[in-house]
């Protein structure tokens, strides 16, 4: 299990290994290469998910018209497209983006390690996810088409091919998602072990950068919540292919059980994707405010509380599903109480801005833009968490708008913020700030113009997952809202073009990045951009917490974590010895 190479040997010894193309770039065990692979995979899958969004929105604004570049969308196709959009965006875009790419790249660098604890397992995690993505994409091409039961795959719709007409599409969907779960469970082993065991001397838990904390909490939440759903996926697959009746009532099964299993995972999953997005914001906002993160420990405890609470709220997705109505009251209370830890996180970030010296770089714009939009997602959660009101809003576009307003600010705005911020470290070159700001403005404005109208459509009672609503008289007023949302979606998609240009242009032509272009404190900025194989040329020692910005007593307005204090501590050589080598 333990890797045979002790890190002492690898640190500092820069024998850049000649591994050949395959071992250096494809089956690499270097966490930085793997992170970039995750990044590439998630951006590629985002193109698929974005294309699905385009088809969905076009159909909703101008029902049953010719969609440029595709053709007509049929009802069955529509259901398949919404299913794939959700599945791809959550499991194959958001997770590889904020966990796979940033977690892999930053955890070892931020704790001062030369790599993940189990590099080969890390490689396997990525390639497992790759297989999962391939299986999901393969499901597009099987007879009867891909899964069409929604990303929640509610039984019995998903449990018997006869109900949707989908045969292997749904089976492959289950297999792909199960493989994805396995991949991130393996990834979690590395997150936890690296963050706990490979910290350099001085890097106490209370000096961990917030990003590491959030990735750690996310990995643990994922591990603790996904097991029952893996069991459920197994049972659902047996229902489909062997003919058992776990979730079908004809032989005593229960469809509600699937919903319990799904949402016991589903709610924590939101935080799995969301918390690392917050982690990215919490790294960036202090840097560009030149202020310490306000109330570090309060935030950590807040996030842990949110994580614990997330395990006792799942039935808020099921208020009107036929559970015992008496259960709704306790679940409603716990759900609304979740606003308390998130208020801690949001208020702390807001107060961090107060009195700062704010520089609105692209990274900072995406971070504060994500924060500003997340607030909408946060407050609208109260509407849905209140069982009495959920009777009306459940299953409408209000829900759609709400979860896009929580996941997109954290995973996508946060992820973009992280990319603009760490791109110099990842690729050794700076991104273009002008294009970055254009990208931000387009994304921010269009995003809000997509989903504010959808809140209103939800208030008007517009059910989601409706192929076209022209037959409903009461939805006539909502139709213009869908047109606005669709035009804004086109803008949102077009708004990503500056990013794509910027990304590839900066890769080859960007200004060479120095070690620490943002004057930031965390350890990844104390090595070359990009970091060499083995990350650091000498062993790191940490002397302070990661957010020592703008201290009036300090010689300059930032104090890197590894910068020795003014009065040097008497350091014995033995203390610099790297630990955690077993």
């Amino acid at each position: 299990m333990a890797t045979a190479t002790p890190s002492e040997i690898r640190v500092g010894a820069h024998h850049e290994p000649h591994l050949g193309f395959l071992r250096s770039y494809v089956f690499s065990v270097d966490h930085k290469v793997i992170a970039k692979q995750y990044l590439g995979l998630s951006l590629f899958m985002a193109l698929l998910g974005g294309a699905a969004a385009y088809l969905i929105r076009w159909q909703l604004a101008w029902p049953e018209t010719y969609v440029p570049g595709w053709g007509y969308v049929e009802p069955q196709q529509y259901n398949a497209i919404i299913t794939m959009h959700g599945t791809i965006m959550i499991f194959f875009v958001a997770m590889p983006f904020v966990l796979g790419a940033f977690g892999n790249f930053l955890i070892p660098l931020m704790v001062g390690a030369d790599d993940m604890a189990f590099p080969r397992l890390n490689m396997m995690s990525f390639w497992t996810l790759f297989v999962g993505s391939a299986v999901l994409i393969a499901s597009f091409f099987v007879p009867a088409g891909p899964a069409a039961g929604g990303w929640t795959a509610y039984a019995p719709l998903s449990a018997r091919p006869i109900y949707t007409g989908v045969t292997w599409g749904q089976n492959l969907w289950l297999i792909a998602v199960a493989i994805e779960f396995a991949s991130f469970l393996m990834g979690g082993i590395n997150f936890l072990t690296t963050a706990l065991n490979m910290r350099v001397p001085g890097m106490t838990l209370w000096r961990l950068p917030m990003l590491v904390w959030t990735e750690l909490i996310a990995a643990v939440l994922f591990m603790l919540s996904v097991g029952p759903l893996i069991a459920g996926a197994f049972m659902l697959l047996l229902d489909r292919i062997a003919g058992t009746s776990f979730f079908v009532p004809d032989k005593g099964g229960d469809p509600l059980l699937w919903q319990h299993l799904f949402w016991f995972f589903g709610h924590p999953e939101v935080y799995v994707v969301g918390l690392p997005g917050f982690g990215i914001m919490m790294e960036i906002i202090p840097v560009f405010s030149r202020k310490p993160l306000y109330g570090y420990k309060t935030i950590v405890w807040g996030m842990i509380a949110a994580g614990v609470l997330s395990f006792v709220v799942w039935a808020h997705h099921m208020f009107v599903s036929g559970i015992d109505p008496r259960l709704a009251t306790p679940f409603s209370i716990t759900t609304i109480l979740i606003s308390v830890p998130f208020a801690i996180i949001v208020f702390s970030l807001l107060v961090t801005l107060w009195g700062g010296k704010i520089e609105l770089t692209s990274a900072m714009l995406f971070a504060v833009g994500g924060l500003a939009t997340f607030i909408i997602g946060g407050v609208t959660g109260i509407f849905l968490g209140s069982a009495g009101l959920d009777v009306y809003l459940h299953g409408t576009y209000f829900v759609v708008a709400h979860f896009h307003y929580t996941l997109m600010p954290l995973a996508i705005f946060g992820g973009f913020a992280g990319l603009y911020f760490w791109f110099p470290k990842m690729f050794g070159r700076m991104m273009n700030e002008t294009l970055g700001r254009i990208h931000f403005l387009a994304t921010f404005i269009c995003f809000n113009c997509v989903f504010i109208p959808l809140f209103l459509a939800g208030v008007a009672g517009n059910p989601r997952r409706i192929y076209e609503m022209s037959s409903y008289d009461f939805l006539k007023p909502a139709q213009p809202l869908h047109v606005i949302a669709t035009i804004a979606t086109l803008g949102l998609l077009a708004g990503q073009i500056p990013f794509i240009i910027n990304f590839f242009m900066s890769l080859v032509r960007g200004r060479k990045a120095e070690r620490n272009p943002w004057h930031a404190n965390t350890l990844e900025w104390c090595t070359d951009s990009p970091p060499p194989h083995g990350n650091f040329s000498q062993p790191m020692v940490v002397y302070r917490d990661p957010y020592e910005y703008g201290n009036p007593d300090a010689p300059k307005d930032w104090m890197a974590q590894n910068e020795p204090p003014a009065a040097p501590a008497p350091l014995g050589g033995g203390q610099i010895r790297r630990t955690g080598t077993r």
Partner: protein
């Protein structure tokens, strides 16, 4: 935002709308305050106006209070919302007022079946009538329904009544409503149930008392209806 709500025609719909208003204004104040604070910070403390940032770590209790006191207010408001929302939920889903009229609602791909007990008021007798996609009820009468499904999950959604309840195969779920205004209102399915989900469209007709009698007569015939 609130003007987008469709007309309300049920006795408990007003409570739902009231709850909506309360949460809307409470969260609206917080939302506006937070966004204004954020925007003010970005403008006022932009580096062009700020030479030396304020150094505050937020760790001492007096500094942490700047976060924790607002959080405490959030907590109190949460509990208030819990209380009000809990009462509304209780009224809609937990109290079953005595029935004035009964109907069985069955979802199937892709229709609503409404089964009426007929003039004898009993289900399972010869005069039961099942009508697809048409629900007829008298105004000002408590209607008790029993909801079930023949295949997959559907969701019985009547926006004008502020009523939604999933129809779960293998279960029978009881509920009620009382319409306050005559007219026709639309019924939708609010849970994805297959390729025809979007067309699973019913109509609720709320009759005046006299009108309802006429409908009963035309459906069951004058003689049988008179027996009621």
């Amino acid at each position: 935002m609130l003007t987008w709500l469709p007309q309300n025609v049920s006795t408990f719909g007003g409570d739902v709308d009231h709850l909506f208003h309360i949460i809307y204004y409470i969260t609206g104040v917080w939302f506006v305050a937070a966004e204004l604070f954020l925007f003010y910070c970005l403008v006022r403390f932009h580096k062009s106006r700020q030479a030396q940032p304020l150094y505050a770590r937020g760790e001492s209790s007096s500094q942490a209070a700047w976060v924790l006191v607002p959080v405490l207010v959030v907590l109190m408001l949460d509990l208030g919302i819990d209380k009000i929302g809990g009462d509304v939920w209780h009224r809609i889903k937990l109290e079953l007022p005595p029935a004035g009229d009964q109907v069985h609602v069955t979802g199937k791909q892709f229709n609503w079946e409404f089964t009426y007990p007929g003039p004898d008021g009993k289900f399972g007798t010869a005069d039961d009538q099942t009508i697809e996609n048409e629900l007829h009820v008298p105004v000002g009468t408590v209607v008790r329904f029993e909801l079930s499904s023949k295949d997959v999950i559907h969701s019985f959604f009547v926006p004008a009544l502020r009523l939604k309840q999933d129809a779960m195969p293998g279960r029978t779920i009881k509920g009620w409503f009382e319409a306050t205004q005559p007219g026709t209102y639309e019924i939708a399915c609010a849970e994805l149930c297959g390729f025809g989900h979007y067309g699973m469209h019913g109509v609720l007709t709320v009759h005046t008392a006299a009108d309802y009698q006429r409908w009963v007569q035309s459906t069951w015939g004058a003689a049988k209806a008179a027996a009621k």
